[in-house]
Amino acid sequence: MSQYILEMNHITKEFTGVKALDDVNLKVKPGEIMALCGENGAGKSTLMNVLSGTYGFGTYSGDIIYNGETCQFHNLRDSEAKGIVIIHQELALSPYLSIAENVFLGNEQKKMKGVIDWNVTRAKATELLKQVGLAGENVNTPVMQLGTGKQQLVEIAKALGKKCDLLILDEPTASLNDEESMGLLNLMLELKRQGITQIIISHKLNEISYVADAITVIRDGHTIETMHKGEDYSLETPESYKALEDRIIKSMVGRELTNRYPKREGVKIGSSPIFEIKNWNVFHPELAGKKVLNDVNLVVRPGEVVGLAGLMGAGRTELAMSVFGHSYGTDISGQVFIGGKEADTKTVSKAIDSKLAYVSEDRKTYGLVLIDSIEFNSTLAAMKTYFSKNGILNRNEEKVKAEEYRRKLKTKCNNIEQPVGDLSGGNQQKVVLAKWMLTQPDVLIMDEPTRGIDVGAKYEIYEVINELAADGKGIIVISSDMQEIIGTCDRTYVLNEGEICGELSGADITQENIMGCIMAHNNRKGAAS
């Protein structure tokens, strides 16, 4: 018996001429947590799909040795039979079914052939929920009523309900807030104590260093290095932590990124505001009488990058969407000023005409038409104003501009006719940016502009933000990543429960101060009620 529970040796996987994985090796010891890092498109997910049998035996070359035996998984069921369970980034839950039903989806607890034993199902589900820290939840609740964080935990409960010796989590914290992420990571450590081997795919270096016993870095389909805690790195001092972080980043991008946030130099911030929101009030679209935003006022000056910090559910996206074409909420009141003049932003097309742009969060759902080309998407918001005359498109001009922005933003693709669905997350985000830059806005609201994209692409997006600021645009950055707010913004507003609860600028923008504003606001609210 070897010392490894899992060995993947010389894995090579090709997609029509492109080598997604080239001689990749991964070795995992029993009971440890292995972190797999790499930029988007590096091949992490492909490797895990090979392991789980999604890309079946025969479509790749190389060996998978699991528990000492060479395995040939033809599909997901084969690997699950051996106790390998994968939880994908996109959750595989059925929204209208109850927690209990979801936990045993595909693994139904049966009385006899084909008949579900509901008592056993519910009892076991309750047990599993306890195990993942969801003891308070009713197993009959439809999962759509749970937040993303809890849904993630239901996924884990589902995995534990099966025979599970090796658990693979693909970016489990991508859509969780800090608190939920922490809970999940602690659960991982608890599962480790119970002897479950785990592989976590993540971009977030702080999380990796928190849970992992070993780290493997993949770049461009190659294994770059594997580091073991205690042997290759330690986390005892802040310096050693920083050294690890630098080493991982260097391995991931193949070069040293001395600073994760490019400096913005020589940008003059104008004095008169380019963008103002006054007395903004918004009510919930479904829950009658529930106020989502209460008397919000904010100001952005030309050349200034202003953050909107806050926890999940604070109302940041709701603020942006309600301003941008009243795309969220009802009974909206308040005023918007752009360039000193009151602007009508009641519909999206009026907002665009008023020189406002909203780079939405979740590019796949709200930002892009995935089946269409880079060219198509790039000009989508601007076609009415800049690429047509009397409703007739200027196709040549579209091609020229789409190409120009592809170069400007360094979008990696075959050509501008490639469907955006084929691109990696970072490159998709660049197409969304191109779409909004082509509307020639004065003010851009960017909602989670770098969520789920790799370090290198993030850096390039920050550079774009800097260029836009240098052009004298007003920029609002909404981000759940406080480091990002600190790294990119001149000034930030802190939003909590639909109200602006603080404003910080320059060196005062720190994680402690932002949290301090939120705490103080919660206390005030608590005292008032």
Partner: protein
């Protein structure tokens, strides 16, 4: 500017045209050339005209990810309206035709309103109007056939441009049309090449363009010579060609067309890019109503009468044409040319099998199989990529 100076024509784009040609030639062999006689070619055009007119509008519905089930009934109501206007009310033919179109418009507006502004799913809305339209036709016609309709009305569906024979069976008008089409095609290709050069876009190899255009020109001349040898250029072909040209232009070159594609591909992203998706929905279905009205007028004009059963299951032919022509059920993918080619594939099958002596029952089996086969082929070839 681009690394690659030339790119190859994507053959997949033309796969359905190739299949159409293959199917046509196949039947030519089976029926010993009977489907190539001037009369058969003329039938192919005239019998297919309403399906093509409907497919053009249906493609827009398919692009939004939906279908319109009510077009067959709208065809019947519009035809009945025009028939009643002439026979019972004594209106002149042009007024009756416009009346038929207006009835179609009415149905379109009705569908569009409920779909876009009330938010009823298109499938349900048009299923309802399908039932209502059919019932209405039977009611207003009292389940009787209305006719006969005068020559000034039937001219549209069964008339021809005057034929001037220059030598034997060769018709001057048809030759002129073919020549003009050839010239326009070559001009637009040359124009395309210069534009690509001017903007420094990668160019297509000249021989590939030449082959493509040669094939199209051969098809055009074949059709025109055959039609000339029959009774000349059918009026309905002119209507059809104008519609296909117009809608091809709208879908590829206008903001409105682009909006339909964007909405079908991702409605939320389209909304946040400033597209009023309700408006798009409304006009797509309104437009479908007008075209169904036109098809109704053309059909009654070809039959010289309005019958309550007219247009039965036409919606299925139109939908099948779109899907055979490469439209995606989920929306956002499909072309006008594809839908027209799809309609002609079905028409070729119809005529070929009729000439073989197969009844309509057997034809339906084959048509169903072809629809399934075409979509399977499309799906499998995409999956390989």
């Amino acid at each position: 500017m681009n690394e690659k100076k030339t790119i190859n024509i994507d053959l997949k784009q033309y796969s359905m045209i190739i299949i159409l040609v293959v199917v046509y030639l196949l039947f030519a062999v089976i029926t010993k050339g009977m489907n190539m006689t001037p009369a058969s070619v003329n039938n192919l055009v005239m019998q297919n005209s309403y399906v093509v007119i409907l497919a053009v509008g249906m493609l827009l519905c398919c692009l939004t990810g939906n279908v319109d089930l009510s077009v067959g009934s709208t065809v019947a109501v519009a035809g009945a309206a025009a028939g009643i206007a002439i026979v019972d009310m004594g209106m002149p033919s042009p007024v009756a035709m416009i009346f038929g179109l207006l009835v179609g418009l009415g149905f379109g507006l009705f569908n569009g309103f409920f779909i876009a502004y009330v938010g009823i799913p298109p499938f349900i809305t048009t299923l309802a109007t399908m039932l209502m339209g059919r019932g209405l036709t039977y009611t207003v016609l009292a389940a009787q056939t209305k006719g006969p309709l005068p020559g000034s009305y039937t001219f549209l569906g069964s008339g021809f441009l005057p034929s001037i024979k220059i030598a034997g069976n060769i018709d001057l008008i048809c030759c002129l049309v073919a020549a003009v089409v050839t010239a326009l095609l070559i001009l637009s290709e040359l124009n395309g090449i210069t534009t690509r050069k001017k903007y420094n876009f990668p160019a297509y190899p000249v021989w590939q363009l030449a082959v493509k255009d040669a094939v199209i020109i051969v098809i055009v001349w074949f059709f025109m010579l055959k039609l000339g040898a029959n009774r000349g250029l059918p009026i309905v072909l002119i209507v059809m060609a104008a519609l296909v040209g117009l809608y091809h232009y709208i879908t590829t070159m206008t903001v409105a067309g682009r909006q339909v594609y964007a909405m079908g591909g991702n409605a939320k992203a389209a909304q946040l890019s400033g597209i009023d998706t309700k408006k798009v929905f409304f006009w797509v279905y309104t437009n479908m109503g007008v075209l169904a009205g036109l098809a109704g007028v053309v059909l009654s004009s070809r039959n010289a009468s309005a019958t309550p059963k007219a247009g039965d299951a036409f919606e299925m032919d139109a939908i099948a044409s779109c899907y055979i022509g490469g439209a995606a059920c989920a929306g956002g993918i499909g072309t006008i040319i594809g839908a027209v080619v799809g309609a002609f594939i079905m028409g070729t099958l119809n005529i070929g099998m009729t000439l073989m002596g197969l009844g309509t029952d057997a034809q339906k089996i084959v048509k169903g199989a072809v629809l399934l086969g075409a979509v399977t082929f499309d799906l499998v070839s995409k999956r390989k990529k």
